[in-house]
């Protein structure tokens, strides 16, 4: 990658590398809400500050942890911290999850997780009603423990 960066700068100027970094850093900071991956009593939850790559109506979603899919009936999503939780299995083309730029979404899963401090990889897949191939994102982060109420 360092070689790529040098070639980019040599061929197209320093601005091209600088602009690439602006975009990468903004995307990195604007979708997954840093530190939002939290262990809960029944599993985990996390938040997104923007949709991952694509806006629109999503008729389905699934979540995986370290390569294992969470049962669909154990996954919930809501729009904003005040929104109502919706079971992922109830999403459909006629009852989609609607996301636009800046939409805050929270995901929660009931799923026993291995104890321990190491990082986990969460994979989220979303299916759009208008553009078939799914959109995915992977978060590699360490779960925070929820403070007792």
């Amino acid at each position: 990658m360092a070689g790529d960066a040098i070639r980019l700068e040599t061929e197209f100027g320093a601005h091209s590398l600088e602009a690439l970094i602006w975009v990468a850093e903004t995307v990195d900071a604007s979708v997954y809400a840093p530190g939002s991956l939290v262990r809960t009593a029944s599993g985990f939850r996390f938040s997104l500050a923007n949709p991952p790559l694509r806006i629109g109506a999503f008729s389905g979603l699934r979540l995986g942890v370290d390569g294992t899919w969470v049962p669909p009936d154990s996954v919930r999503v809501r729009l904003g911290p005040q929104g109502s939780w919706r079971d992922s299995v109830r999403l459909s083309p006629s009852n989609p999850l609607e996301l636009q730029a800046g939409s805050w979404t929270e995901f929660e899963a009931d799923c026993p997780l291995p104890a321990g401090p190491g990082p986990v990889t969460i994979r989220l897949e979303l299916s759009n009603v208008a553009i078939p191939p799914l959109v995915w994102m992977e978060i590699h982060d360490t779960m925070r423990e929820v403070a007792p109420p």
């Binding site: 197209f12 100027g13 806006i55 629109g56 208008a130 994102m137």
Partner: protein, 732 residues
């Protein structure tokens, strides 16, 4: 029928789109810059200001307050509409007359908005104008991301807001009396953090029986360019009247440089020509120094997408804007990769998929690069300028080398697929959060998996080889020319052998390995238009495409309605696309069926009317409703324009040889047609057609050879001649 989505907007209001060469503004025509539109299946808000292809703001609203009462502009709107170079609205509230003007400005890139208030009151009226907007500050091409953190700096005339290297300046002619951030009063200074909304309150006292005025300017894009532009322009916010007049004069001058078409037997085509021409003009873009092109569309494809640009540039050649074509090509080829850059999925010789000031660019499509040799060759034919042909031939040779690296030496077929995956793999180790679209392929239908050898990609590869060969010929590079010609001939042979689908009397959509992919798509029509098929097969393909599973009364589907994978609202698996309708028209003319070709052109013309003078990207597969569709797309206007010249008029120019071939394909029932001011390399050409005759008027610097299919006629500069045309069966 596809059920409507619960919150999909069935019939959105016609958008207001204001553009300059480096900015845009979008509204819904009710008075503010708000515009909600179904996008990817759900409502999304696109209103606001755009500069340098960066979305500067979300919706921008203005609220008026007086004596404890408040109104927004839509609530008191009396009338509204465009005026030359801008858009205006009139409002009445509490005895006040409020006139609004909005104009897009190129430098600094943004919008000027003016409110003038007239009062008949016998006492002064204190008014507060509150301007609300949310900052965005991110390239439009990165769909759906609104940054979460900004830096806001108060200024005497307003605020400056930044996110990394992107910035905006919101200024007013009346200094704000109060600033609000996220709904709270802000004392000013510098703030860093989340910003959902910025509001500026301005107090204006309207004198008794007098008037008051306030102007705002929101501009931005790259902070470095914004600072320079504001330094050059100074603190004054110019009059919208002057700015609009300048914009209108530029547009008028451009239009006057383009040809006029008259079709007395098809006035709807004349109207459609003017609509498409005006639509294309709206897409002109020079977002930064040295970056020239056309944006792909509005609202969400407002970046320079090179696939779309390659499809649009031939139309510009017919419209006579050679300079914009040359500058656009220079822009794109400046980003031709010379090395492998995995981070951006670029390989040597490849051209970018998209461009935005920064510069921000990305490679990784299978077809964008392949489209350019033909455009470059056509530019040389139209301009007749071969002074740089050696350099251009070298650039095209690099494309051919890139294509050869992806080709099967046995069949000559170009292999595509895996481009998006390559980007994902290249960036896998760089971030703790990764994103991707599970898209294994990147043809023009890039959400469909058409690996490994989609037919239309092979046609583009064949055309790239042929065009490069011609240019290499002009450059006297005969060894490379012959290699390209040999490879093109080999590929044509393979195409003739491996894609025939006898059961459907059609062509397979692709080959997966050596296995045919039996799906009926309009892409097969590209082989007809390219002349790669024998006449009987070509006619059969056109007939098959005209059947109801592919052709509908509102256009041609991206996939047959009989296909098991058909979905009426899937972008590339069933929706109707105007570009596919244009392909069908092109192929029908190519096989000598002008009535059928004209019917497809009329379908497109009817869409422009239904779209209120705009040109949607696509429609549902089962009814003529835009869905997941940009309301103005270059794809939907440029091919239509090109076909009027190349197919209906049947013109092929060769400025290098100072010749033009004219083989009109007007329907037998037509009585006349006229074309005025067609720009050729050495002058301008006027044509008048009546059955059997062509009146040619040539205003050029040297003689012109006119080939009418049965004879070649020399025409002297300034001469007018009436030439006999062969009867339709004799056309060759």
């Amino acid at each position: 029928m596809t059920p409507a989505l619960p919150s999909a907007l069935n019939r959105p209001p016609d958008p207001v789109l204001l553009t300059s060469l480096a900015s845009a503004a979008m509204g819904d025509g009710r008075g503010d810059l708000c515009y909600e539109r179904e996008s990817r299946g759900a409502p999304s808000e696109w209103g606001g200001v755009y500069g340098q292809l960066i979305r500067l703001t979300g919706p921008w609203t203005v609220v008026l307050t007086s004596a404890g009462a408040t109104t927004d502009l839509p609530s008191c709107r009396v009338r509204s509409g465009p005026f030359p170079g801008g858009w205006g609205s009139e409002h009445r509230w509490k005895g006040l007359e409020v006139l609004q003007d909005l104009v897009a400005i190129p430098r600094p890139a943004g919008v000027v908005r003016r409110l003038r208030v007239r009062s008949e009151s016998t006492s002064p009226v204190p008014l507060t104008f509150t301007s609300h907007f949310s900052p965005f500050l991110f390239p439009v091409l990165v769909e759906g991301i609104r940054p979460v953190e900004f830096v806001v700096q108060s200024l005497p005339e307003g605020v400056a807001i930044g996110n990394h290297g992107f910035g905006l300046r919101a200024a007013a002619t009346v200094s704000p009396a109060r600033l609000l951030l996220n709904g709270e009063v802000w004392e000013g200074g510098q703030y860093k953090g989340p910003v959902s909304e910025v509001a500026l309150e301005h107090e204006v006292a309207v004198p008794a029986r007098g008037s008051g005025e306030i102007r705002w300017q929101i501009s931005g894009g790259l902070t470095r360019d914004l600072d320079k532009a504001l330094g050059d322009s100074g603190p004054t916010i110019a009059s919208p009247d002057e700015l609009a007049a300048r914009q209108a004069a530029d547009d008028l001058q451009w239009t006057r440089g383009t040809p006029e078409l008259e079709f007395p037997d098809a006035p709807e085509l004349e109207v459609a020509y003017r609509t498409a021409r005006a639509g294309l003009r709206r897409l002109y873009s020079e977002p930064a120094d040295g970056m020239v092109g056309l944006v792909a569309g509005y609202p969400w494809y407002s970046a320079i997408w090179c696939r779309d640009l390659a499809i649009m540039l031939p139309a510009l050649l017919w419209l006579g804007d050679f300079e914009w074509v040359a500058r656009s090509l220079a822009t794109v080829f400046r980003f031709q990769s010379r090395h492998s850059v995995r981070l951006l999925a670029g390989e040597p010789g490849e051209l970018p998929m998209q461009l935005v000031p920064g510069p921000i660019f990305l490679y990784g499509t299978s077809d964008s690069t392949l489209r350019f040799p033909r455009v470059v060759e056509q530019m040389h034919r139209h301009t007749g300028d071969v002074s740089s042909v050696v350099e251009w031939a070298e650039a095209l040779h690099r494309i051919v080398e890139w294509g050869r690296g992806r080709s099967d030496p046995t069949t000559g077929l170009l292999r595509h697929g895996g481009e998006a995956e390559a980007i994902s793999q290249a960036t896998a180790s760089l971030a703790r959060v990764r994103y991707g679209i599970d898209s294994p392929d990147t043809t023009i239908w890039d959400s469909a998996d058409r690996r490994d050898h989609a037919l239309d990609v092979q046609v583009l590869w064949w055309q790239a080889l042929c065009s490069t060969a011609r240019l290499l010929g002009h450059a006297a590079d005969h060894d490379r020319r012959m290699t390209c010609e040999g490879q093109a001939a080999h590929l044509a042979e393979t195409l003739g052998e491996r894609y025939r689908w006898p059961e459907q009397r059609y062509l397979y959509d692709s080959l997966r390995g050596a296995i045919p992919v039996a799906r009926v798509r309009p892409n097969a029509l590209r082989a007809v238009s390219a002349g790669l098929l024998d006449p009987a097969t070509a006619r059969a393909v056109v007939e098959r495409a005209a059947e109801g599973d592919l052709s509908t009364p509102w256009g041609v589907r991206s996939l047959s309605g009989n296909d098991p994978g058909y979905d009426a609202r899937a972008y590339h698996e069933g929706q109707v696309w105007t570009i596919a309708t244009a392909w069908a028209a092109d192929a029908a003319f190519a096989v000598g069926q002008p009535e059928r070709g004209l019917a497809y052109l009329r379908t497109i013309a009817a869409r422009y009317v239904a779209d209120g003078g705009l040109a949607n990207e696509c429609y549902l597969g089962d009814r003529p409703e835009p869905f997941n569709s940009c309301y103005l797309l270059g794809f939907s206007v440029a091919p239509f324009l090109r076909l009027l010249f190349e197919r209906l008029w049947g013109i092929r120019v060769d400025g290098v040889e100072t010749s033009v071939r004219v083989l009109p394909a007007f329907p037998l029932a037509w009585t006349s047609a006229k074309l005025t001011g067609l720009r050729l390399a050495q002058g301008r050409l006027n044509l008048e057609w009546t059955p059997g005759h062509l009146r040619v008027q040539w205003e050029g610097s040297c003689g012109l050879s006119v080939d009418t299919g049965n004879a070649v006629h020399p025409i002297a500069p300034g001469e007018t001649a009436v030439l006999d045309l062969p009867s339709p069966p004799e056309r060759s």
